[in-house]
Symmetry: C2
Subunit: 412 residues, 2 copies
C-alpha cells in the first residue's frame, strides 16, 4: 500500500451486514481498502491541519479528503499532477478523496454554513446564489464564475473543468460538480437547481469517461454523483433515483441539511440509491449527526470540525466537549479523556495541553487535533463494530446519553 | 531510558580524543548519555516548537534545552514539578537542560541580542541594565527585578530563587544564575559584573547543595557555572579559573560574543577550565560559529536559530540558506537538500513545502523545523566523527567553503 504501485482491482464496494438502512461494507480503492462506516479526516489543502501523515495514519484514519477548489487555487492542480497526484504530493499512501469544489465556490461566495440555523429565521432568498449583486460567485446553467478568496482573481468552474482539475489532483474518489443551495432558497429555486445538478452530473460522467481513457496509465479514479434537493422529500428521492440510474461509482449526499431532519433526509436518499454503491455524507461530523447518518445508510463522512475546534482548544470527550484553556485544567494531571486510546491521551496531561494552549504553541494544536480526530474515527469504527454485533441502537443511546449530558446540564 | 526509572550513575563526563583544544566525550545523565560535541535543540517552553518529541528524537537530538524564565512565568515551575519534572511534563524521556533565565530576564529587559553587531556602532552604555529608566529588568547585587513580558506582573530572580525554580523544573543539567552583559557595557562595568556573577555562583552552589539534599529522591541534577567576561581576555581567563576551582559539574560559556572573536574567547575559557568537566556554549548555532566553538573546546551547543528561521521558511542547505517561499521552488520536485538524511528530505519536495508555506499550514513549520534542526545536529555529529578520525580541519574547510559560497555570491 505504501510502495506506490497500482493494484489490479480499480474500485469496488462490497456491502457487509445490514440493519435497517444502516450497513457495513468495504470500499476497495487503488490505494487500499476503506472499511465502512468510516470517518474520513479532512486535509483541505493537501495536509490534515497540524498533523504529519504518520500521525493521521496512527490515529486510525483510513483515507483523507482534500478540496479541489482550494488546491486549484493553491498550488494549482498542475503542480499536484506533476508531483504524482495528491497522495504522492502530501506523502499519504492510503486512499484519497477530493470534494469537487462546488460547495466551497458557492459558500465562499455567499458565506453560508452547511447545517443551517439560518433556515429558522424564515428568510427566503434566492439571490444569495443568483448572478450580479456583490457576491464572490454566481451560478448559471453552464457553471460557476467566482473570485478567488486569496487574490481576487477571476475563475470559472464547469462540470468539465472540475473533472479536469480532479483528474489532475488524482484522488481515488472524486465528486461530480453540483450546485449547492441553502435552506433559504425557495422551493421553485430548489427544483431548478436539482435539474441543473442532474444535467451537470451527465456532463461530469462524459468528461470523466474521456479523461479516464486519456489517463489510463494512472490509477482508476471513482466518480461519485452528488444528491441534492434540500429538505424536500420528492426532490431528494427523485434526484437519488435519477442519479442512481447513472453509472456513478458511488454517491455523495450534499447540500442544506437541517440538523433535526438529517437522518430523515439521508434515509430518503439511501432508500432510492442502489444498494451496491457507497454513499458519502458530505461535511458532517457532530457525533449525533454521525449516528443519524449511519442509521440512515451513509457509509463515509468527512468534516473539518474535529481539527478546526482543536486549534481553538476545544476537546471532544465522552461526556461532551470542553475547552482545555480554562483554569480548571491548569493542574489537571490526567489525560484529555480517560477513555480515549489516542497518542495524546497516552502520553500527555490536560495540564500540559493547557500550558501549550496558553503559550500558543504549535504542538498544542497537533496534540488536540490527534485526540479530536481519533475521537470521531474511533466513534464511527465503534458504530461499524456495533452494526456487526447487532447492538448499534444500544451504542447510540449510551454514547449520546452521556455526550449530550454535560452540554444540556450547562444549558447550552 | 524511556521507563522513567533513575539509573545509579548520577552525572559524569568522560573525555575522548583531543585535537588541540577540540575534543570528544560522553556526558552521562540520569536520563541517558550525550555524546559530544553535540547540538542540543531548544524547547524554550517545554516543547521544541512545531515538533512532537518522537520527531525530535528521530532527527537525532540527544537532549533538549528549556528555559527557566519562560517556564517560571508559564505554566509555573510548581506545575512542572507536580507533573514529575520537565521530561515527564513534555514526554521527552532523554536528557534535559534548563538555562537559568538570567539571559532571558536581562535580554527581555533591554532587548539586546546574543551576538552583537551593536558593538560596532561605538555606543558605550551601562544603563541598559542599570536600575531605573524605562526597562523591564534591573540588576542589583542581590538579583534581578523584572516585569513579565506576558502580563506586566513584577518578579524577582536571585541565585537562590533560580536554583529553586530549576530544581522544580528538574532538568538533568541546570545553569547557575549569572549576569549577562552586552558589548555596549564599559570595561569597568564588565569587571563589576564578573565579580557579581562570581558571588552569585557561590550562592548557587550553596542553594543547589541544600536543594539536592532536600530532594534526594529525585534524579541528580548537575549544576553548570557560567563564565562571563565579554571580550576581555583577562576577565574571561580569571572567571574561568575562579569558577573552575569550584565544585560545578560543568560550565556554560555565556554573554557577549562578537562573531569574529568567538573562537578566540571560547579558547581562553577552555584553556582555563578543568579538562574533566563539560563546556556548553550558550545560544550559539550558526555553522561557522559551531565549527569555531568545537575547535576551541566547547562540547555542547544550543540555539533557537534552526527552528526559528524554519517558521519563516528559511531552509539550511549545504550550499547556504535559502527561502522555500520564493517562486523558484514552486515546481521544484526535489528534496530541500539532496544531501540531507532527514524525514522531510526523504518524503517531501520543495514544491510541497513551498505550497505549505504559501498556505501558512502548520505542517510546513513542522517539516522545515525537522530539516533545519537535523541539519545542525548532524553537522555537529559529523564534527565529532571528524575529531575521532583526525580530519576536523578538512571537514571545516570543505563545509564552510560551500556553505558560505552562495551567500557570498549573492553579496549578503
Amino acid at each position: 500500500m505504501f510502495n506506490g504501485t497500482v493494484p489490479a482491482a480499480p474500485f469496488s464496494f462490497t456491502p457487509g451486514v445490514r440493519r435497517g438502512l444502516a450497513r457495513t461494507g468495504v470500499i476497495a480503492t487503488p490505494h487500499g481498502p476503506i472499511r465502512t462506516p468510516a470517518f474520513i479526516p479532512v486535509g483541505t489543502k493537501a495536509t490534515v491541519k497540524a498533523l504529519l501523515p504518520e500521525a493521521t495514519a496512527a490515529l486510525g484514519a483510513q483515507a483523507v479528503l482534500a478540496n479541489a477548489y482550494h488546491l486549484y487555487l493553491q498550488p494549482g492542480a498542475d503542480i499536484v499532477d506533476a508531483a504524482g497526484g495528491l497522495g504522492a504530493f502530501m506523502h499519504w499512501p492510503g486512499p484519497t478523496f477530493t470534494d469537487s469544489g462546488g460547495f466551497q465556490v458557492m459558500s465562499l461566495g455567499v458565506g453560508f454554513k452547511k447545517v443551517l440555523a439560518m433556515a429558522s429565521d424564515g428568510v427566503t432568498s434566492d439571490d444569495v446564489i443568483a448572478p450580479g449583486h456583490d457576491r464572490l460567485a454566481h451560478v448559471d446553467d453552464d457553471g460557476v464564475g467566482f473570485i478567488s478568496h486569496l487574490d481576487g482573481s477571476r475563475h470559472r468552474f464547469t462540470p468539465e473543468s472540475s473533472m479536469a482539475v480532479q483528474h489532475q489532483l488524482g484522488a481515488d474518489i472524486i465528486f461530480a460538480f453540483d450546485e449547492c443551495t441553502t435552506l433559504m432558497n425557495t422551493r421553485d429555486y430548489q427544483e431548478r437547481s436539482v435539474a441543473r445538478t442532474a444535467a451537470w452530473a451527465r456532463r461530469c460522467l462524459a468528461a470523466h469517461a474521456e479523461l479516464t481513457e486519456q489517463r489510463s496509465h494512472r490509477p482508476y479514479q471513482a466518480l461519485f454523483g452528488v444528491v441534492q434537493g434540500a429538505q424536500y422529500e420528492d426532490l431528494r428521492r427523485a434526484a437519488a433515483r435519477d442519479l442512481g440510474g447513472l453509472p456513478f461509482d458511488g454517491y455523495g449526499i450534499g447540500g442544506a441539511l437541517e440538523k433535526a431532519q438529517l437522518g430523515t433526509i439521508v434515509g430518503w436518499v439511501s432508500e432510492a440509491l442502489p444498494e451496491d454503491r457507497p454513499r458519502h455524507l458530505l461535511g458532517i461530523g457532530e457525533p449525533d449527526d454521525l449516528f443519524a447518518g449511519v442509521a440512515a445508510g451513509a457509509d463515509t463522512f468527512d468534516c473539518v470540525m474535529p481539527s478546526r475546534v482543536a486549534r481553538n482548544g476545544a476537546i471532544l470527550h465522552h461526556d461532551g466537549r470542553y475547552n482545555i484553556a480554562t483554569a480548571a485544567n491548569r493542574r489537571a494531571f490526567e489525560p484529555l479523556d480517560a477513555e480515549c486510546d489516542c497518542y495524546t491521551c497516552a502520553h500527555y496531561t490536560r495540564a500540559y495541553l493547557h500550558h501549550l494552549a496558553k503559550a500558543d504553541e504549535i504542538a498544542g494544536h497537533t496534540l488536540a487535533t490527534i485526540h479530536n480526530v481519533r475521537f470521531l474515527v474511533r466513534l464511527v469504527d465503534r458504530m461499524r463494530e456495533a452494526l456487526e454485533a447487532g447492538d448499534f441502537d444500544a451504542l447510540r443511546e449510551e454514547f449520546l446519553g452521556r455526550y449530550g449530558a454535560r452540554r444540556r446540564a450547562a444549558g447550552r
